[in-house]
Amino acid sequence: MAAAIEVEGISKQFRLYNEKHTSLKERVIHGGKMPFTPFWALRDVNVEINQGETFGILGRNGCGKSTLLKCIAGILKPTSGEIRVRGSLAAMLELGAGFQPDLSGRDNIYLNGSLLGLSRTEIARRFDDIVAFAELEDFIDNQVKFYSSGMYVRLGFAVAVNVEPDVLLVDEVLAVGDANFQRKCLDHVKKFQREGRTIVVVSHGTDTIRQNCGRVMVMNHGQVITVDEPGEGIRVYMADLLGVGTHPGSESGGIEGNVLAIGTVRAEHGGSGARTHMYPGESLTVTADVDSLAAVPNALATIAIYDDKNELVFASDPDDPACEMEIPVGGGIVRFVFPEVPLLDGTYSVSVGVRSATETAIFDLKDQVTQFEVANPGRATGRVRLPLDASFRLRSAAAGSTGEVPAVSAAFTPLAGWEETAS
C-alpha cells in the first residue's frame, strides 16, 4: 500500500517577536532590528500516512497539530523538511472559509469549490448534490450574510465533502449542525473510508478519534510522542500529556482541635503495579488513613467520584449501612471497594469524608484528593460501559416456530450496529 502522505523531517519555526513592527516606518525608527524568540512549532516530524487510512492527530492546544495540518495542506511552508502528498487534497480547516457574505449561496458554492480546486464544470455537475446535502434548496439564491450560522456551516461542509478529494484534512469541524446533520457528516466520512480515501483528522475529541481512526499520532511540543492504534494512543495522550495518573495521595493532615482527620488517601485498581490506568470493569479500592483523638462510635464514611469536568459521577448513599463504622481512638484505615467500575475513558478524582451518622457534623472531608484513570481498549464511547446484549429475531410470523436467531456480533462491533441504525 502506497503512502498517501509522507512527512519527512518537517520542522517549522515561528518567530515570537517581543515587539512587532509591522510598518516600514517602525522598522526604520528601530533601525530594522526586531528581537524575537524562535519558537519551534514542529520539530523533525516524520510520519507516513497510508492510502485509505483514517489517521487521527491528538494533542493539547499548541502542540503543533494544526500547524502540521496547515503544512500538509500547503498553507504554511515548513522551515525544513518535505511533505509529499499523492493525489488531490482538500482541507477543511474552517468551514465556510472564503465565503463572501454579499454573494448568494449559489455563487459561493462556485467560489468555494474553485478554491478547493474544482473546475467550473465539475462544480456544475455536483451542484445539486451540494445543495441537497446542505439542505438549502429554498435559500440557495439568498445572500450568505442572511444565513444562520448553522446554514453557513452546512453549506461549507457540503462543498468540502463534495470535492471528493483523495486526501481529506479535517480540523475539528466534525461537530457541526444539529444531530441529524452530524449523522450525515459522519455517514459521509464513512463513505469516504469505504471508498479508500485518506482522511487526516485533528481533534481534541478522543471519542471522534476512537470511533473513526485506524491509527493515532500523539503530539506534544511539536514532536511526535507516539503513533499507535487509537486505544493506546488515547491513553498516552491522556496520561503523558495531561500529566495525570495514580497520584500517591495527599500528605497527611494534622489533628488540630478536630476529633478526627483523614490522612493519606489511595486509589488502587485491578491493574495497579503493571499499569497506571485501569480498564473498564476492573475493581477499584480506595483506602483512607484516619487518625482519631477519640472514639467515634457512629461515624459515616462517604466517598464521591468526579469526572475531569468536575461533574459528580457518583456519591455514596448516606443510608448505606456498610458505610457506618465505629472508629476507635487512634484511628485506622477506611476501605471502599468497588468490585466493578463500569466507567469509560477519563480521569476521575475521588473525595473522601467522614461525618457523623446521627448528627450533621462533618469530622473531615478530603475533596478530590486522589485520582484514577480509566483507559478503554475497546471502541465504546461515552461515560459508562453499560452491560449490553443484542440479538436479532424475525417478526411475529417466525416468533412461534423458529424462535430466536442467534445473536449477531452487534454487541462487539458497535460500528456495524451503528450503521444499521443510521441507514
Binding site: 485509505g52 502528498v85 487534497l89 482541507a91 454579499d102 474553485s114 480546486g117 471528493e164 486505544g231
Partner: protein, 327 residues
Amino acid sequence: MSLSVDEPPSAEPERVSTIGGSTRFVPGQSHDRVTVVNGKVQLGQRLKDLWTNRDLLLLLTRTELKVKYKDSVLGYVWSMLNPTLVLIIYFVVFKVIARTHQPLFAIWLFAGLLVWNLFSAAALGATSVVVGKAGIVKKVAFPRELLALSVVGVSMVLFAIQVVVLILAMVIFGIHPDYAYLPLLPLAFVALVVFTSGMSIFLSAVNVYLRDTAHLTEVLMMAWFWGTPIVYTWGQITGILAGHPALGWVKYVYLCNPVTPIVMTFQRAIYGKTQYSYAGTVYHVLPNWGVASFAGVLGILLVASIGLFLLALVVFARLEGNFAEEL
C-alpha cells in the same frame, strides 16, 4: 491492546466502490499527481498552478466585480464616476485655468488616463488584497497570487468600459485615430497587463509584512503619475531638455518609466498627431517614431515586464510561506 498497527481494519481500501453507484474513485490509478511541500521556491510549478487555476482567477474577478458593482448596469456606470471626475478635473485645470492651447485636449487626456487608471487602480487595490482576504489566505490552500491578479482583472474590466466610452466619444465627435498605429495597442496592452501584474503581486506580498506599504504606494503613485506624460506632453519635456544640452541623458532616464512608452503608444494611436501649430509656432507633443520604433520599445518593455513578473512571483513565493502566520 495488541491490535495490528500496520494494517488497521479501516485502512483497507476497496478497489472498486459501488456505493450509490455514483462514485468512480479508485485509489492509486487516476490520481498519481504528487504534491511536494517544502521550503523551496519552484517557479515552474507556480506558473503551472496559476494556469490550472485560471477558472478560479475568473471567478475571483467576477466575485470582486459582483461585490463591488452588484452586477448591475447602474453599478458599472457608478464605477465610471471616479475616472470621469478625474478627467473633468484635469480638463478644467489645464484647459480652462492653465489655458493649454492643445487641440482635442480631452482625447489626449483620455488616452493617457486609460492606461494610468488600469495600472494605478490595480496596484493600489492589490496592495491590500492579501491582508483584506486574510480569512481565505489563512484557511485555504490555493495560489494566492490569484488574489492580486483578480484585482488586475477587475481593472481590466473597468479599462474595457472606458475604452467603450472613448470609442463612443470619438465616433460622436468624428475624431479619427491613427489607424497605422492601432495594431500596436494589443502589444502595449499586454505589456501593461504583465507589468501591472508583476507590481500588484509584489506589493500585495510586501504589504503583509509592512502594513504601511498601502500608504507609501499612494504617495508613490502620485509621484509616478506626474512623472508620466499624461496631462502634459512628451514634447514639453524634450522642449525643456533641449535648452540644457548637458541634460540629454535625462530623456532616457525618463523613458525608463515603463508606463511612459505604453502611455505614448496609446496617445500616438488614439490622439493621432505628433505636433500641432498654434499662433504660428509648431508644438511637438510626441516623438516622430515610426511603427517599428514603437514596436521595438514595447518589445523590450514586454520582455522586461515578463522578467519583473517572474521576479515578483519569486518574491511572493518567498514571503507567502508565512502569510498564514503573519495575518
